[in-house]
């Protein structure tokens, strides 16, 4: 009973708590980092150096009036934010956050479930997030949100191809679809796949930016063009869910990147003996470190680049990233066969 | 104990739902979706047998069925779009030029 119910429950709650906390601090971090880049302070008032700013924001959003536009499809309008958020959250089920821990005589696995098709699970769950966006845009019964949602989903689907291709290269290298298996494969190889697959890593990164609608690919929400994209008509709590979903997706992307390309909870160069002291730091800390490092790059990029135009974005995705990822896959496959 | 028969009964039910959808709905998009339901019924069958016989072939064929479904959806929806552009309708009762 303890082993089958309570331990997984604890793990699930821990992960959920970690993710939601991370989201909250992610929002703050984004504002802070951007402010620093732009030589400002960012939020300073709520809490020490604005630490509680996001909490306040969330509280505000929850207390705001929840407006449903007239002639909107009520039902869809209500569930669309949830449909965006839930897939993002359940993707964490297969991401190994740490190696298995033993606490109080109980063995806690490092992830909620080690599914043998873990990577595919992440991809497939990720595709479900589109529904929230499309339906949110459609249900608003308004021109801008619909356009924004169509753009957004077209963009996500387009870049998903390239991203999935890079995942396939990782599968080729590791020979398994299990997330834990992939981490172990990196341990065996002694190298993070990010070093072995720089091209794939890069494509994954760019695709990740695009899939989470971040600058320079944030067209669906381009404030100057489409006001606020698919969630124009949303306010209050439901908007908060979309907001949450977006940041959760960012964290999913980062966590997957960490697992696939940055060795998950492994310390750097796990096979180098004299770097063994790095193992002192627990695995989950490494994982957090890498994930936040990756997230930081997201923010950095956001503060640096202008935005692509829609057709340019599509061109980049279809004419550069996808062929490049396929070529990379072919080369990887050849290397695997030949070497 | 759940046997293959249970799955087959489920499959029959789903398939019949698809058939009813195909025969009664007038929106051709929903008709295509009903066809997807039927294909899924077939897939349930295949996977159930695969499980029953402990043989992976059924799953391999289910993959093919999914491929067919994808192709069918792409082409079918393309035709619907083209038709819609010409006739401004997706009502199958108005798609009756192929007669006499």
């Amino acid at each position: 009973m303890v082993e089958t119910v309570i331990v997984p429950l604890i793990v699930i709650l821990t992960v959920l708590f970690a993710v939601l906390t991370t989201v909250i601090f992610m929002v703050l971090l984004e504002r802070k980092v951007q402010a620093w880049v732009q030589v400002r302070y960012g939020p300073m008032r709520v809490g020490y150096h604005g630490l509680l700013q996001t909490v306040a924001d969330v509280l505000k959003l929850f207390l705001k009036e929840d407006i449903t536009p007239a002639r909107a499809d009520r039902w869809l309008f209500t569930i669309a934010p949830l449909m965006a958020l839930v897939p993002a959250l359940i993707a964490f089920a297969v991401i190994p956050l740490s190696r298995d821990l033993t606490l109080f005589g109980l063995r806690f696995p490092g992830q909620v479930a080690d599914v043998n098709v873990g990577l595919l699970y992440v991809v497939s769950v990720g595709t479900l997030g589109i529904y929230g966006i499309i339906l949110g845009g459609w249900a608003s019964n308004s021109k801008y949100p619909l356009l924004g949602s169509l753009r957004s989903s077209a963009q996500i689907i387009s870049y998903e191809i390239a991203v999935t291709m890079t995942l396939v290269t990782v599968i080729v290298l590791s020979g398994t679809l299990s997330m834990t298996g992939i981490v172990h494969a990196q341990l065996d190889k002694g190298w993070w796949f990010g070093f072995m697959q720089p091209v794939a890593f890069f494509i994954y990164f760019v695709g990740g930016l695009a899939e989470t609608n971040r600058l320079p690919f944030d067209l669906p929400e381009a404030e100057q063009e489409l006001v606020a994209g698919f969630h124009t008509e949303y306010s209050g709590m439901r908007f908060a869910f979309f907001f949450l979903a977006e940041y959760t997706n960012m964290i999913v992307i980062s966590a997957v990147a960490t697992t696939l390309f940055l060795g998950g909870w492994l310390p750097p160069f796990p096979n180098v003996a004299w770097l063994g002291f790095l193992g002192v730091v627990p695995g989950w800390a490494w994982f957090m470190l890498k994930t936040f490092g990756f997230l930081y790059v997201f923010l950095w990029v956001r503060a640096t680049f202008p935005r692509y135009r829609y057709d340019q974005l599509m061109r980049l995705g279809w004419k550069w990233l996808i062929p490049l990822s396929i070529a990379n896959l072919v080369v990887t496959g050849l290397m695997k066969v030949l070497v | 104990m759940i046997t293959a028969t249970h799955y087959l009964l489920l499959s029959v039910g789903l398939f019949s739902l698809g058939v009813i959808g195909v025969l009664t709905r007038r929106n051709i998009i929903i008709i295509l979706m009903s066809i997807e339901l039927m294909l899924n019924a077939v897939n349930i069958n295949l996977v159930a047998f695969s499980h029953e016989l402990q043989n992976v072939v059924g799953q391999a064929f289910a993959v093919f069925v999914i491929v067919i479904a994808a192709a069918e959806a792409a082409v079918g929806l393309g035709i619907i779009l083209a038709f819609y552009r010409n006739k401004e309708t997706v009502n199958i009762d108005e798609m009756n030029l192929l007669r006499w």
Binding site: - | V22, L23, I92, D93, M95, N96, L97, L98, R99, W100
Partner: protein, 730 residues
């Protein structure tokens, strides 16, 4: 000889270069040069290969080159290898028959290529390159056809030449009639191809292979299906359907006259010299099969003779110079099929060769005439061209005499051989054939007379001084008078006349390879071709062997021994030398009579023609309307099932009425009776059928609601029925 695969490939390359690059980039000179060089190289290779073939001993004159597997054996572990076992190589075979064919194709083809450089020079640059690309492509496919060592490779060539024929007939595609004619040729050919391909299926089903040699060897020991209608008969009949399509025999000949919409060199090359003989070639190639199916042979002979006769009669009344030649071609092809039908495969092939020369010559001459008349094709607007076109006149005369069978020109020998063998086979066929020969001479000389003799009836050129005349306007391409106005009939450029002269030489000399024994010749061509028509297994197909040996009348025992099974279609009779000479004389006489009559009617007293036409107006109308066959097909085949009733009605109107008109000269009363009969009984019946059909379809069409779901419902009902049966009956 191992390089024979290059012979088709070279024109293929030429087509590729001209087609891909030339159409956009080449000037006329380059395009023509590429095409001609490819053909010249093919000709050289063909000559070399032929020489090598000749240098082999007579019984070893067969060489097969297999390039690669086309349909490789599939390593499928399905069943007992039934599917995987189907293999077809890209194989080419050189034997006497194909050797002869490649010589004809490359030689005539090359000359026509040269001719075309002159004939087509008025085209725009891209169209010029396109033309040569098509021509080369045609040569490629034709050579594949004749060199292929199995049915499937042959079929590739077969379909390929059909395609090229379509492309070239429709070359002036902006002209409605030309593109229609192209489509017609293509579609009619498809009907024949259906027979051919079903025949191929049956061949594979029967013999398990598609290789000609293997099929022949396997068929050799089989019994002659003299009594019943067996597998071989069905196969050969199906193959013959294919041949009728390609070689324009009854009932599928209608496309060939229309095919004259193409440029004249095309008519010469494809629709006279080479492609249309593919059917003959194919029958000859499967001589062993055919000789085992005497009933088919009879069909072949009857169809051949009927075609020959019918086409010749139509040719009597045509005014378009090319159409006359087209019907002449159909007629001559009929002759070849007579030869095939009576078992004289070698004679058929021989006639094929001589015909290729003189008919190509005639077509090219007509092209030269058309060229001179700035596109005018109607003979009624020609005449008196002899002083203007001396070379054309001379060469055309040679061609005419050759086709009329005047010794010692080539047509004499080949046609006479056929007539002789027809006589041995069946007297009626022979009789009709001789009559046809007479008519051939007549209409050919009529053509000559109308074109070259008499008074000039064409448009004046000095008075008008321009090209505003109807004659020119009628020409689709405006053959080569690009810049200035038409300045009257004139001789063609050297690039056109030189091929004419060379072909004329060919038309004169080609016959001498087959001088019959009766005239003291060795009939060399027949011995040369013999191995191609026999199975290598020496099992005799019955009692015909001695007779065959006898019939050949040669002393070569060794040769005869190995060819026992081949030619043996059982022409038991053998005539004395004097009788043979008599027959010859008769046929020559027929030719001379024909020419003389034509001379009398059209040169000496042109009014006779008018009188005749008026007197025999019914017949004349039927003839000049080509027996209304086109209309018949148009009404029956083209209009399809929905128009079946109306088709019958049209049949009634055109054929019955035509016949009524034709026989109107009998008596007025009989005409009246027949008219009444026609109107109340025939029409009534036909209309009844139509009405019933129409009423029936009016009722039945209500089932077709156009509602997809109702159709699906019917499907579901079928499922329901099956499941019910399974559930309750089981």
């Amino acid at each position: 000889m191992d390089l024979i695969w290059l012979i088709p490939l070279l024109p293929g390359l030429g087509a590729l270069v001209n087609g891909l690059v030339g159409v956009r980039a080449f000037g006329k000179r380059t395009a023509g040069l590429v095409a001609n060089a490819a053909m010249a190289a093919a000709l050289a290779l063909a000559l070399y290969a032929f020489w090598q073939l000749l240098s082999l001993p007579a019984d070893a004159r067969e060489h097969t080159v297999r390039l690669a597997a086309w349909i490789p054996p599939i390593p499928l572990a399905l069943g007992n290898g039934a599917i995987g076992g189907f293999t077809v190589p890209w194989g080419f075979r050189l034997d006497p028959l194909s050797g002869l064919m490649i010589l004809v194709v490359t030689l005539v083809g090359f000359l026509i290529h040269v001719y075309s450089t002159g004939y087509m020079h008025g085209e725009t640059r891209g169209a010029y390159a396109r033309f040569f690309a098509y021509l080369n492509l045609f040569a490629f496919f034709m050579l594949v056809l004749v060199l292929g060592d199995n049915f499937l490779v042959m079929f590739v060539g077969w379909e390929g030449v059909g395609l090229c024929s379509y492309l070239l007939i429709g070359y002036y595609y902006e002209k409605q009639s030309a593109s229609d004619a192209g489509k017609k040729a293509f579609i009619v050919n498809r009907i024949g191809d259906w027979g051919f391909i079903v025949g191929i299926f049956m061949v594979y089903g029967t013999f398990g292979t598609l290789d000609f040699r293997a099929v022949a060897d396997a068929a050799g020991p089989m019994g002659v299906e003299a009594a019943g209608f067996g597998t071989l008969s069905i196969i050969t009949l199906l193959l013959f359907i294919g041949a009728t399509g390609k070689s324009a025999q009854i009932p599928l000949y209608v496309w060939l006259p229309d095919a004259m919409e193409g440029p004249t060199p095309v008519s010469a090359l494809i629709h006279a010299a080479t492609m249309v003989t593919a059917g003959v070639y194919m029958v000859g190639r499967n001589a062993v099969l055919f000789s085992h199916a005497p009933m088919t042979m009879e069909v072949v002979a009857v169809v051949g003779v009927a075609t020959a006769f019918m086409a010749a009669t139509i040719g009597l009344a045509q005014h378009d110079i090319k159409r006359v030649l087209a019907y002449s071609t159909v007629s001559q092809l009929g002759f070849m099929f007579i030869a095939m039908g009576v078992g004289a495969f070698a004679a058929g092939a021989f006639h094929l060769m001589t015909h290729a020369f003189f008919k190509a010559l005639l077509f090219l001459c007509s092209g030269s005439v058309i060229h001179a008349m700035a596109g005018e094709q109607d003979m009624r607007r020609m005449g008196g061209l002899k002083p203007h076109l001396p070379i054309t006149y001379a060469t055309m005369l040679v061609g005419t005499l050759a086709i009329a069978g005047i010794p010692p020109l080539s047509g004499f020998f080949s046609k006479d051989e056929i007539l002789y063998r027809a006589f041995l086979d069946h007297k009626v066929i022979w009789g009709v054939a001789v009559a046809t020969a007479l008519m051939t001479a007549f209409y050919m000389y009529r053509l000559m007379s109308l074109t070259f003799f008499g008074a000039y009836r064409g448009p004046a050129w000095e008075a008008h001084g321009g090209r505003a005349d109807h004659g020119h306007a009628a020409s689709g391409g405006g053959h080569g008078h690009g810049g200035g106005g038409w300045r009257g009939p004139h001789e063609s450029p050297r690039s056109m006349t030189v091929p004419l002269q060379l072909l004329a030489v060919g038309a004169v000399l080609a016959g001498f390879v087959g001088v019959p024994a009766a005239l003291g010749g060795g009939n060399a061509i027949e011995h040369f071709l013999e191995p191609s028509f026999v199975a290598r297994t020496a099992a005799p197909p019955g009692a015909t062997a001695p007779a065959t040996h006898e019939a050949r009348g040669l002393g070569e025992a060794a040769h005869a021994a190995e060819s026992k099974g081949g030619e043996g279609t059982g022409h038991a009779a053998h005539l004395s030398r004097s009788a043979e000479l008599g027959l010859m004389a008769l046929s020559v006489l027929a030719g001379i009579v024909g020419i003389a009559a034509a001379y009398r009617i059209f040169v000496r007293a042109p009014e006779i023609a008018e009188t005749l036409a008026r007197r025999w107006s019914g017949a004349h109308r039927v003839l000049s309307n080509k027996y209304y066959v086109d209309e018949l097909y148009g009404a029956t085949v083209v209009a399809g099932t929905m128009g079946a009733a109306r088709g019958l009605w049209a049949f009634d109107r055109s054929v019955v009425d035509g016949a009524v008109n034709g026989s109107g000269w009998l008596t007025v009363s009989s005409a009246w009776v027949s008219h009444a009969l026609d109107k109340y009984i025939v029409d009534g019946l036909v209309n009844l059928v139509g009405a019933v059909l129409e009423a029936g379809s009016f009722v039945v069409r209500r089932v077709q609601t156009g509602l997809v779901q109702n159709y699906a419902l019917v499907m579901l009902f079928g499922v329901f029925a099956f499941v019910s049966v399974y559930l309750f009956v089981r």
